[in-house]
Amino acid sequence: MELTTVWFIAIAMLWTGYFVLEGFDFGVGMLFRVLGRNEPERRAAITTIGPVWDGNEVWLIMAGAATFAAFPEWYATLFSGFYLPLFLILVGLIVRGVALEYRGKRDDAAWRGRMDLMITIGSLLPALLWGVAFGNIVRGVPLDAGHEYVGSFGILLNPFALLGGLTFVAVFVTHGAIFLALRTTDDLRVRANRLATRTGGVAAVLTIAFLAWAQALRGDTVSVIVTIAAVVAFAGGLVANLLRREGWAFIGTTSAIGLAVVSLFVALFPDVMPSTLDPGSTLTAVNAASSSYTLKVMTIITAIFLPLVMLYQGWTYWVFRKRVMVAAS
């Protein structure tokens, strides 16, 4: 296989990992004020993602850095073209990261209230905007012959991309609720389970609409099959949630998000940034790629270290596998 294809798959994997992992901690971040009725419940909800959210976010840093190294043209076009959405995503992630670390550092209700609001906004904003960004990547954007983005911010807010944004939010909320049901006890667990059922229906409708539209735009047989698999996995997750089989429900949403992201990348390949102006201006995995030497060294290093990373990140989930109980207030 061409190394450019290998790296396209690697980038797709990194984004998949990112959305599967940060997807549930975004979900918890958007939900914990709604689900947690008092401080002990909210703290318990936040504690479920406490040990892992930072590590989850590194998948994004890795996706960015790997794109920079393996596809510099893609990185340059994407990041300069999607300037304002990325700026807002950064603001969201900054506010959220600080608030997650600081909320428990002062025993003061007003302080925690502010931090909680920051966590909610900081989880909602990136979830929404990543959906918008991915919608636009799949749909294509105006690129000139030099692969420069020549559109405005408004162009990025097209109906398809906005649907993508809403879909991401709804799916992550459901994913987060199911994660909470899996990781908490008692009342909180029951409420998370019920909430997942309610948001799951909305998420399912949005997901089907968004993925079908994406396939209509640029799907092929394989991507359509993967899309169907994603929808089936999501439905399976929701059924498991109804049956209160929390582990299976989480596996369901995890696979659904993973497969959905994969289906978008499969539909995109061999392009990485389609141009809506002229097919000749489209960035492809080949014309965006680094030299073969760079790709080769990076392949060797990644092949050695990525499994190691997955091993110790997996260990973290094992160490913190017990359900988090709500402290007696």
Binding site: Y83, V98, S290, S291
Partner: protein, 467 residues
């Protein structure tokens, strides 16, 4: 201002701000790991309490370092897309290595350390913080390798057809002679910051509340001040080596550091100069003969090239244009870096002297406690401003002018939006962080000797390390 100036301001502001947290993180995690190791080995409770206290301060600090680091990675592509196109093949690799080898390690093991106190065996838990230490060191190495490549590009060839630099030897990039001297210099400088932080906080407690946890804070004072002293020796030695490498690969930067317009042999080091506004004529100065020759070349009689002759040489090499950085800025930041750094070492030495053999620190010492942690931090900042502005007008020395790296499609409106946005956000966060730090410092060791939570999966109390 046009997009270029705005993008440069944004890079300067976000980078200087980010680097307020980096040196504290690098050193404080290592000192915390050392304290925890001391507790593990000796079983003395004071080390455990110090581990928890400084560990909490470290966590408050690293949160800011992490989130501001995200901006750094994104803005290469956002504001400097032509730079990214030009260097991605080379520069991206160390950046990706930083993510893969360092960031995953740091972020994962920090979670295990924070939440694993009662859940992991003691030795495994201790190992977790050492993994974070390893992560911060690797991170520093890779990002400095990337930066050093911009100071002294090696291990690449220029591909004219694609108009970009392409990597030919990753090992050469990772063993660039600039990174080999810059890494120890940066790490030692970071340890001056962390040591001063530990010592400054301890002095404050000893003076303000002399009866509370006196022995514990005396230990902290000694540890912190000693770290500053040892690190300052390392900074001096590595800085001297760095000066010689810099003279070799970036002679203009050394000339600018000295505002040396004419080539001199031997050259003297000026401690202080008042010159005309453009810096080209001096009115008054204090000079130390032969010193610059030694700093630059290792010989007291060595020749140091002046700005004017280097300008001529560069014009021949690269075509017409100005190859001079902002001379007053490089001259003063170079001096302030050295001067403020030396001052912080002197303060640390003096602190050790006045508190020797159980002596109590006098009350007015508190005035030193506050600025002490800031001195080396300021020196670090000046060092970075010096080294980055001294490279101008180049983004990648000799290859890519700064003006050619900016994103062509980005509008000044977009850059203004993000510049104002980040600056405001960073300003607010600075207040929040400082307040929280001061509050936590004031709180002292209270709560660090609490018995551990017995129910292992209860969310921890707010005062402990977790949420």
């Amino acid at each position: 201002m046009d997009t270029l100036d705005l993008a440069r301001w944004q890079f300067a502001i976000t980078t200087v701000y980010h680097f307020f947290f980096v040196p504290v993180t690098i050193s404080l995690v290592a000192i915390t790991a050392g304290l925890q190791t001391a507790w593990y080995r000796t079983g003395k409770e004071k080390y455990l309490r110090l581990t928890k206290f400084y560990g909490k301060l470290f966590l408050i600090n690293i949160a800011m370092g992490v989130v501001t680091g995200l901006v750094q990675e994104f803005q290469f592509g956002m504001n400097w897309s032509d730079y990214s196109r030009f260097v991605g093949d080379v520069f991206g690799a160390p950046l990706a290595l930083e993510g893969l080898l360092a960031f995953f390690l740091e972020s994962t093991f920090i979670g295990l350390w924070i939440f694993g106190w009662e859940r992991l065996p003691k030795l495994v838990h201790l190992g977790c913080i050492w993994m974070v230490v390893l992560g911060t060191q690797l991170s520093a190495y890779f990002i400095l390798a990337a930066n050093s490549w911009m100071q002294n590009p090696v291990g690449f060839r220029y591909n004219a057809a694609r108009g970009r630099a392409e990597l030919t030897d990753l090992w050469a990039v990772l063993t660039n002679k600039v990174v080999l001297v810059t890494f120890p210099h940066t790490i030692f400088a970071a340890f001056m910051v962390g040591g001063a932080f530990v010592a400054g906080v301890a002095v404050w407690h000893l003076v303000r509340r002399p009866d509370t946890d006196r022995d514990v804070f005396r230990s902290a004072l000694k540890i912190g001040a000693s770290v500053v002293l040892v690190a300052s020796v390392g900074v001096a030695i590595s800085g001297d080596l760095q000066g010689k490498v810099m003279t070799e690969v970036q002679p203009m930067k050394m000339a600018a550091a000295e505002a040396l317009y004419e080539t001199e042999k031997p050259a003297s080091f000026s401690v202080f100069t008042v010159g005309t506004l453009d810096g080209s004529k001096e009115i008054f100065s204090i000079k130390m003969p032969y010193l610059l020759s030694f700093l630059a070349t290792g010989h007291f009689g060595g020749e140091v090239k002046g700005i004017n002759s280097l300008q001529e040489a560069y014009e021949q090499l690269y075509g017409p244009g100005s190859y001079k950085p902002n001379i007053p800025l490089t001259y003063w930041t170079f001096r302030l870096m050295i001067g403020v750094g030396m001052a912080s070492a002197a303060v640390a030495l003096w602190l050790l002297w006045v508190t020797r053999r159980g002596r109590a620190p006098s009350h007015w010492l508190v005035w030193l406690a506050a600025p002490l942690p800031l001195l080396p931090l300021v020196a670090n900042t000046f060092g970075w401003i010096f080294t980055e502005t001294g490279r101008q007008p180049w983004l990648v020395f000799g290859l890519l002018p700064t003006a050619s790296g900016v994103s062509p499609s980005t509008t000044s409106g977009e850059v203004i939006t993000s510049l104002v946005g980040f600056t405001l956000l960073y300003g607010v966060l600075a207040i929040v962080e400082t307040k929280l730090l001061l509050r936590t410092i004031r709180g002292g060791l209270a709560g660090t000797d609490d018995p551990p939570d017995t129910a292992p999966d209860q969310p921890d109390k707010p005062l402990s390390l977790a949420y």
